[in-house]
């Protein structure tokens, strides 16, 4: 058994992990972005 055998579970762990990590900068980014465009007048 030389090669690595990836399962669907491995694939899901890999992609979901990256996606969940991306959520953190996305939430921070969209908050900062909203402050940038709505900072001067919030009404």
């Amino acid at each position: 058994m030389d090669g690595v055998f990836y399962t669907l579970h491995d694939f899901m762990i890999h992609t979901e992990s990256i996606t969940y990590l991306l959520i953190i900068p996305a939430l921070l980014g969209i908050t900062v972005f909203w402050r940038l465009i709505a900072g001067k007048d919030d009404n």
Binding site: T15, I18, T19, I23, G29, F33, K40
Partner: protein, 390 residues
Amino acid sequence: MSEETIPGRKSFFSLFNICAGIIVVIGLYITYLRFTGGLGAVTNLSDYNPWGIWIGFDLLVGVALAAGGFVTSAAVYIFGMKRYHSAVRPAILTGFLGYAIVVLALNYDVGRPWRLPYPFIIQQGTTSVLFEVAACVALYLTVLFIEFSSAPLEWLGLKRARDIVIKLTMVLTILGVILSTMHQSSLGALFLIAPSKLHPLWYSPFLPVYFFITSIIAGLSMVIFESTLSYRFFKHKMDEIHMQEKNDITLGFGKAASFVLAGYFIIKIFGLSSSNNWHYLKTDYGIWYLVELLGFVALPSFLYAIGVRVKSLNLIKWTSVLAILGIILNRFNVCLIAFNWHLPSSERYFPHWMEIGISVFIVTVGLIAFRFIVTRMPILYEHPDYKDAH
């Protein structure tokens, strides 16, 4: 400001009239060829490519760009943003005409116009996404017609009928939002059936969400674009309220469009990540995808934000053009460019000049109708009999 203020008598043979006249004559000739010779006589459609620009542009782009009606009326009547009230009637008119020309264009693609009501009376394909799209478009066109009818009723002096329509405003607005949410997303859902035909970068289980969110961007950008053109060509028809609220509308809608574009950019990245399609970005289609994502989503979002921040109305207006081009590009990518991507170039679709001719003809008919209505009815000004009636 009102109907009487047309500056002088203009010649009928203006540049617009001459160009529109030529386009209409050519369009009517192609219409004759289409309905006597069939699709093969005027299109490059085939079994591989059954949907061309009459669906990709006239229908998908038309419906998205007509979203300004439900976006604006929801903002004003549901969310209570009364300062944008003067944008409602032009947006409803644009939406109504947009959907009307979508249905007109659909007749060219489907053929046999007398069979258009069949889904409702002969065969209810209730398990089909297309049935849901057809039902929503038919109902929403009716809703838009009733919403819009207050303007011609004021113009015709039918006060009682107009008052009934005005009383229905909130119900119609809620119906409009529900129906738009349903069919804007369903147009994206149409492509869920073809995962093997649509390139993986554009195919996503989130396609209905993408289509719905981009329709909001299209609606907001179209209101800015349309108000800019109205000010340019129909300034003499605008009253003081429209003049005063014009800049607020541009800034407010620019701010909203900027934020929605940023949200759309983020969920596109999530879609890319959850499908693990990163490796496609290195291909030719990947570069094209990045052009769309960075050039027509991230860039307009950023430019809108700058425009709002420094209160540059010109920047916001030009950005609305970029955002609208982005919506057109997105629909073209999903329906035409990234569709059947695996086929050899000899089998790929490129529209026949007569297909383009019909699309230009239909847009021109919409512009003629818009001009006819705006120059006669109280769209850009309050009717003197109903001032402060809102």
